[in-house]
């Protein structure tokens, strides 16, 4: 085989075709430099020959090659490892997906249950976590989130008012732009928008923080120190979001209504007083109360999905990435479902 190196599969096929071959030797007289590709080829050939009970004589190879071949074949390939990675069939993948779903649901239930127990321990003063952690999380989920929440809710208010104004003008009902902004912010947009911002900002951060702790064995260290990861890691994060989300909700409302007011004053020629008056009449207090409760619930959902994905994270960088992604996805799905439930159970206003 002077010149071109044949493909390993072709060569083994040709050897298989001649049953009388019992022994392989190498002639490398005319071989100049060799590289890892050559080594890989020889290694493949040696493995093939030994599997087929053929003798291999490495003497003809350059000394370096035969030495490396000895090294590479010294430890037999890990049998179980090879057996563990078989390509699964479609039925198997489907079945696995169903089992995973069932298991995931079970884990979710268990996690929610544990979180509830942890809140119980908090109530009886038996939950152990660092107060300094709680303050840090409150700061991260509160003050630190203000810029993005300000930006988005102000813009949201401006846009909604602008679009609404164009429509209302047709009926000469410009003044109702205050009702439009007030009700939609307080009843729906304020809570859902802050929740989604927090899911992407803070829920993802929680998943990544706890997931990295899992990778780094920090969770093991906590457990063996007798600390409940649920109390030490999840509880302060959950509390921070339960406390901060309603405040962010109020703040988002304020800015959204401010944005609406700006449009009302500049585009529709209302005075600030008119807009404010109309707003106060339009939005009953009960809408805010429901909104506050709703955003507290959203806070729990964001914290739980972030922490759950973190705690169940595997031990690799890719696993942390997956955990972060699913934390955000789970949180958003949960928020939308919960919002629907709230809409049915406690509608902000009725349509007669």
């Amino acid at each position: 085989m002077i010149g071109q190196r044949p493909a390993l599969a072709d060569l083994t096929k040709r050897i298989d075709a001649i049953p009388s071959v019992h022994r392989l030797t190498f002639d490398t007289e005319s071989l100049g430099r060799w590289d890892s590709a050559f080594l890989t080829f020889v290694l493949g050939l040696v493995r093939y020959a030994r599997n087929g009970q053929k003798e291999v004589d490495l003497a003809g190879l350059p000394a370096g090659v035969s030495g490396l071949i000895d090294l590479a074949t010294a430890v037999a390939p890990h049998e179980e490892a090879a057996a563990r990675v078989v390509r699964p069939s479609f039925v198997r993948i489907f079945g696995q997906a169903c089992l995973d779903l069932a298991r995931g649901t079970g884990r979710l239930m268990a996690f929610v249950g544990e979180a509830a127990l942890s809140l119980g321990r908090l109530a009886t003063g038996r939950a152990r976590f660092r107060r300094s952690d709680l303050w840090l999380f409150i700061q991260q989920a509160g003050v630190d989130a203000l810029p993005i929440v300000s930006l988005l809710s102000l813009l949201q208010g401006l846009t909604m008012a602008f679009l609404g104004a164009a429509q209302l003008k047709m009926f000469g009902a410009q003044v109702y732009v205050a009702n439009l902004i007030g009700l939609s912010m307080a009843a729906e947009v304020g809570a859902v928008m802050t929740a989604i911002i927090m899911a992407g900002r803070t829920g993802a951060a929680y998943a990544a923080q706890i997931g990295t702790m899992q990778v780094n064995q920090e969770i093991d260290a906590l457990k063996t120190m007798g600390l409940e990861p649920m109390d030490f890691l999840v509880l302060p994060r959950m509390l921070a979001l339960i406390l901060m989300m309603p405040l962010l909700y109020l703040y988002a409302n304020l800015l959204g209504m401010l944005g609406g007011g700006l449009i009302a004053v500049t585009v529709l020629g209302m005075t600030g007083d008119q807009f404010a008056n109309q707003l106060f009449h339009a939005v009953p207090l009960s809408v805010f109360v429901t909104g506050l409760i709703k955003s507290g619930v959203f806070g729990v959902l964001v914290a739980l999905s972030g922490c759950m994905q973190g705690v169940n994270c595997g031990r690799s960088a890719a696993a942390v990435g997956d955990a972060t992604t699913s934390a955000v996805v789970t949180a958003i799905v949960a928020i939308i479902i919960a919002d629907g439930v709230f809409g049915v159970v406690a509608p902000p206003f009725s349509i007669q």
Partner: protein, 272 residues
């Protein structure tokens, strides 16, 4: 006091460890006695860290028992298990420092949890522990700002924080230079002699093994069970297993400086 006369502190009986269907090690039986420096040896990937996880309550056995004294770790109620674990200190293979806390906060955490000391007293103890592992002055560093060997040593300081009865070390000297590694050996002997601690450690360092270990278990990578045990200094002369011999001598032949057996050719002392 001879090894056999000391009371057993950890007894492992017929332990099988598995991840799903993949059996890592089976039928492990050995005893760690109070005051032992017990070494878990074996090739990379044979299940040493996994064995440690079974001993410290992080992974449940597929079969078999782990006894602390007469109490079975895995049959105990959660409270009782935590009480057992409170007597232990653990250094993880990766250090496992809490990365969001400074070194001082890391070492202080167990003290804050389980003692009634004032913050000032805790601060003093933390400084002492860090000084013991050669990290004086690093109190306010975060784990991300120190080297891998320093992380190991800080983890050691945290493991020693509560002066535990039993210390578990997973490769304490991996990543340390020979001098620091020798100092670590001295520290381990001192922990045993002065504090009366029992030490269970995973290590590959032959000099350490021969210098300080007085009991051991050898996990075989291929047979997936323990193939030798006892005092490594005797084991090297008694063993018939070529894998064990190769491990202890680095190439399967005796060197001039192979240590002489502590008691010539007596049957190995520790139960295996």
């Amino acid at each position: 006091m001879t090894a056999a006369s000391r009371e057993p502190i950890i007894s492992v009986e017929g332990l099988t460890m598995a991840f799903g269907d993949f059996v890592v090690q089976k039928d492990l039986t050995f005893t760690v006695r109070r005051g032992d420096i017990f070494v878990i040896m074996g090739g990379s990937g044979c299940g040493k860290s996994t064995l440690l996880r079974h001993l410290i309550g992080l992974q449940a056995p597929a079969a078999g028992k782990v006894y602390y004294g007469t109490q079975s770790l895995w049959d105990a109620e959660t409270e009782a298990r935590l009480a057992i674990l409170r007597r232990t200190g653990i250094l993880y293979q990766s250090g496992a420092l809490f990365t969001s806390m400074t070194l001082a906060e890391n070492v202080a955490l167990p003290l804050q949890l389980y003692t009634k000391l004032t913050p000032a007293e805790i601060g003093d103890i933390v400084s002492t522990k860090l000084a013991l592992v050669g990290l004086a002055g690093y109190e306010d560093f975060f784990p991300s700002a120190i080297s891998g060997g320093m992380v190991k040593r800080a983890g050691l300081a945290r493991a020693m924080a509560l002066d535990p009865e039993i210390l578990f070390f997973d490769e304490p000297s991996a990543g340390l230079d020979p001098i620091t590694s020798k100092r670590l050996d001295d520290l381990i002997i001192q922990l045993r002699d002065d504090l009366g601690a029992t030490i269970v450690m995973v290590t590959h360092e032959l000099p350490s093994i021969f210098a300080i270990a007085d009991n051991s278990v050898f996990l075989d990578n291929v047979k997936r069970t323990a193939t030798a045990g006892g005092d490594p200094r005797e084991m090297i002369h008694n063993t018939r297993d070529p894998v064990v011999r190769e491990f202890l001598t680095r190439e399967g032949t005796f060197h001039e400086n192979t240590p002489a057996p502590a008691t010539a050719l007596s049957p190995s002392a520790g139960a295996v």
